[in-house]
C-alpha cells in the first residue's frame, strides 16, 4: 500500500517545490500582469502569484500520489476494481438485482413529482444525451469509426419537426419517425463517400460534413429561416390535452424515459446480433474481418445509418423541448460533447454511456454554484478523468468464454470423444 506520508519527506517536498516554482514562472505573464491596452494601465497582481505557488505545490503532491497509485494497479494485478466487485457481488446475491431494479424504477418514475421543474428539465436533457451517446456509441464504440459530425443528424431531426410543423402543422408523434428516417438517410449519404477513409481522415470529413450542414442551415433563409431560427414549436401533445409548463416538462421527461429504455433494448439486441458482431470485428481489424467474409461496405453503412437514426429521433424531441431552434445549437462543439459522453463513460459499454451522459450533462449544471469557474473546472475534470481512467468510467467487459481444462476433459469423456 502506498503511503501518502511518503510525500512529506524532504526529497518529495523539494520536488513539489520545483514544480510549483515552474508553475509560478509559467503563469507569470497571464496571472500576474493585467494590462488593459484600452486604458493603458498595468496592474501587478502579486497575490495571485502566491496563490498559484501554494496551489500548485499542493496539486503537484496530490497529483504524483494519485498517479503513482494508479500506476501500481498494473493490468496483471489480481486486485479487483470496484466495478468488478460490484458486479460480482450482484451476481452472488441474486435477490439484490430485482430489488435494486424496483427501487430505481420507483425513483425514476417519481422523480419529476418531487424534484421540481429545473431538475426535471436538466434530467430530460441528460436523458437526451444518453440516447445520443448510445447512438454515437454504435459508430464510435462498436464500429470504431471516429465521428465528429454527429450533431448534423441531430439537426436534421430537429429541423424536420420544426419545418414540418411550421408548414404543414404535423404533430410531434408523426414527425418522430420521419425525423429519425431522414437522419438515417443522411447517415447513409454520408457513409458512401467516406467508405475508404480511416481514422483521423474520417474524423475530419465527418467534422466537415457537420459544419456544412450547419452553415447551410445558417445561410439558406428561405428554407431554414437562417440564424434567427424557428420559434414557437409546440411541445408534444397528448390526445389534444392542453398542458401547463410543469406537466409538459414532466411529459417530455417520460417520453425520454421511454425512449432511453427503447434505445437500450434495441442497442443491446444489436450488440449481440450478427450485425453487431460484424461491427466489432470491423473495429478490431478491417482487413482481417473482410477476409473472413464480412462485407465492410455494408457494415460501415449500417453503423452510420443506425447511429444517425437515434440522433434524428432525439433531434425531434429537442425541438419540442426547447420550442425554439436555430443553427447555433448544432455546432462542432455539440458533436464533441456527445463524443465526450461516449469516451468518458467507457466506449462500447451501454452502462458507461448512461453514466457518461449523466456526469457530463449534469456536472456543468451542478457546477453553476461555481459560476464563472464552471467551465474551467469542467475542462479540468475532463483531463483528470481521462488521466486516471483512460478507459472511461465503466469499461466494457467483453464476454469471455473461459476454457477450463478439467471441465473440458470431463465433457469430452462424457461425450465419448476419441
Amino acid at each position: 500500500m502506498l503511503d501518502i506520508m511518503k510525500y512529506f519527506t524532504l526529497k518529495e517536498m523539494k520536488k513539489s517545490l520545483v514544480i510549483s516554482i515552474w508553475f509560478m514562472i509559467l503563469t507569470f505573464p497571464i496571472m500576474v500582469i493585467k494590462v488593459n491596452t484600452i486604458e493603458n494601465t498595468v496592474v501587478w497582481r502579486w497575490a495571485s502569484l502566491l496563490g498559484m505557488g501554494i496551489g500548485s505545490f499542493i496539486m503537484a503532491t496530490l497529483w504524483r500520489y494519485l498517479l503513482e497509485r494508479k500506476n501500481m494497479k498494473s493490468p496483471l494485478s489480481t486486485k479487483k476494481t470496484l466495478q468488478m466487485r460490484v458486479v460480482e457481488w450482484a451476481n452472488e446475491n441474486p435477490k439484490v438485482k430485482p430489488i435494486a431494479l424496483i427501487a430505481v424504477s420507483i425513483f425514476v418514475l417519481s422523480f419529476p413529482f418531487f424534484s421540481g421543474l429545473y431538475q426535471t428539465s436538466i434530467m430530460t436533457t441528460a436523458l437526451m444525451y444518453v440516447v445520443l451517446g448510445l447512438g454515437l456509441n454504435i459508430v464510435v464504440g462498436l464500429g470504431g469509426l471516429l465521428h465528429l459530425g454527429y450533431a448534423a443528424f441531430y439537426a436534421v431531426g430537429a429541423y424536420t419537426y420544426a419545418l414540418l410543423n411550421y408548414h404543414f402543422g404535423l404533430s410531434f408523434w408523426i414527425c418522430l419517425p420521419i425525423g429519425a428516417g431522414l437522419a438515417t438517410i443522411m447517415g447513409i449519404l454520408l457513409a458512401i463517400p467516406v467508405l475508404r477513409l480511416r481514422g483521423d481522415y474520417l474524423a475530419i470529413v465527418t467534422l466537415g460534413f457537420g459544419e456544412v450542414i450547419r452553415i447551410v442551415l445558417e445561410n439558406w433563409n428561405q428554407f431554414s429561416f437562417g440564424p434567427s431560427g424557428i420559434a414557437q414549436i409546440p411541445r408534444p401533445g397528448f390526445f389534444g390535452m392542453s398542458m401547463n409548463l410543469q406537466t409538459a416538462t414532466t411529459y417530455i421527461y417520460f417520453i425520454m424515459i421511454a425512449m432511453v429504455i427503447f434505445t437500450i433494448f434495441v442497442v443491446r439486441r444489436l450488440e449481440n446480433s450478427r450485425i453487431g458482431r460484424t461491427w466489432v470485428a470491423m473495429r478490431e481489424d478491417e482487413i482481417a474481418s473482410e477476409s473472413m467474409g464480412i462485407d465492410i461496405t455494408k457494415s460501415k453503412i449500417t453503423t452510420f445509418a443506425l447511429g444517425a437514426f437515434w440522433a434524428g429521433m432525439v433531434g425531434v424531441v429537442f425541438a419540442a423541448k426547447t420550442t425554439f431552434i436555430n443553427p447555433a445549437s448544432f455546432t462542432l462543439w455539440e458533436s464533441v460533447m456527445i463524443l465526450c459522453v461516449v469516451v468518458i463513460g467507457g466506449m462500447g459499454s451501454i452502462v458507461g454511456v448512461v453514466v457518461g451522459a449523466m456526469i457530463l450533462i449534469l456536472m456543468p449544471e451542478y457546477l453553476r454554484a461555481f459560476s464563472e469557474y464552471r467551465m474551467l473546472i469542467f475542462g479540468a475534470m475532463l483531463v483528470i478523468m481521462m488521466v486516471f481512467r483512460p478507459g472511461g468510467i465503466i469499461s466494457n467487459i467483453r464476454k469471455k468464454y473461459k476454457f477450463e481444462p478439467a471441465q473440458a476433459a470431463k465433457n469430452a469423456d462424457k461425450e465419448g470423444v476419441r
Binding site: 514562472i25 509559467l26 505573464p29 497571464i30 496571472m31 493585467k34 488593459n36 491596452t37 484600452i38 493603458n40 498595468v42 495571485s48 498517479l67 494508479k70 471516429l146 463517400p193 467516406v194 475508404r196 477513409l197 480511416r198 481514422g199 483521423d200 481522415y201 475530419i204 470529413v205 467534422l207 466537415g208 460534413f209 459544419e211 456544412v212 452553415i215 447551410v216 445561410n219 481489424d285 478491417e286 482487413i287 482481417a288 477476409s291 462542432l332 464533441v336 463524443l339 465526450c340 469516451v343 468518458i344 466506449m347 464563472e372 469557474y373 467551465m375 474551467l376 469542467f378 475542462g379 479540468a380 475532463l382 483531463v383 478523468m385 481521462m386 488521466v387 483512460p390 478507459g391 472511461g392
Partner: protein, 302 residues
Amino acid sequence: MDLQYFFELFVGGLTKGSIYALIALGYTMVYGIIKLINFAHGEIYMIGAFTALIIASALSFTGMNPVLIFLISTILAIIFSASYGVTMEKIAYKPLRGSQRLSGLISAIGMSMFLQNYVLLAQTSDFLPFPNLIPEFKFLEPVKSLISPSGFIILVTTAIVMILLTYLIKFTKTGKAMRATSQDPKMSQLLGINISKVITMTFIIGSSTAALGGVLISTHIGQLNFYIGFITGIKAFVAAVLGGIGSIPGAVLGSFVLAWTESFGTGYISSDYEDVFAFLFLIIILIFRPSGILGRPENKKV
C-alpha cells in the same frame, strides 16, 4: 481588371495560407509523433498571442523602440508558449500514453476548455487591440493594395520557418530521432532513442511555431481575445489533414490549398458558403487521396 481581381484573390489566399501554415505545422508535428489530434494547439497559439500582448504593453510604457519591443515580446511569447506546450504534454498526454487514442483526444479537448477559461478569468473576456509594431516598408508602397506589411512579414516568416523545420527534420540528429519515432515508436525505443525527449522536443517546436503564428496573426488582425484559438485551430487542423497529416510540406501545401479555395470561393461565388467550399473540397480530395495530398498511405497490416 479581371486579371487584377484574380491576382488580388491569389495574394489574399497566399497570406491566409501562410497564417494557417504556421499553426498547421505544429498540429502535424505532434500528430506525426504521438498520433494525437492536439485540440489544445489553438489555445497555445492564443496564449502566445496574449503573452506577447501583455509583455509588449508592459514594455511600451518604458518608451522602448517598437521594433525592439516586438522582438522581445515575440521571443518571450515563444519561450512561454513552448513551456505551456511541454507542461500540457506532461500533465494531460503523458499519463495517457499507451491507452486508447480517443482518451487522448478527450483530454486535449478538456485542456483546450481549461486554457480558454483560464485566460478568460485571469485576463478578460473583451477584445483587446493588439499594438501595431510592424514598421511600414517602403518597398511595399507600390503593391499596397495587394499586401500589407504584416501580411508580408507573415509570408516571409512562414517561408523561413518551413525551411528551418525541413532542415531540422531532415539533417539533424533530433530530426532523425523524430522521424524514427513517428515511423515506429517501439522499434526506435529499442534502438536507444529517448522517446520522452523526442516528444518534449516536438511540443517545444510545435508550440513555438504556434506562438510565432499567434503574435504575427494578432498583429495582422489587430485584436485578440481568449477565444481566437478555437476556430483558427480547427482551420489549421483541416489544412494539416488536407495536406496529409504528419507531413510537414503537406501541412504547408494543405494550408495554401485551403486558403485559396476559401479565397476564390468567396471572390467568385459567395462568402456565405466560404467554409462549405473548404470542406467540400477537402472531402473531394480525400475521396481520391484518402491520406491527403502528400500523405503516405497507411500500411495496412493484419
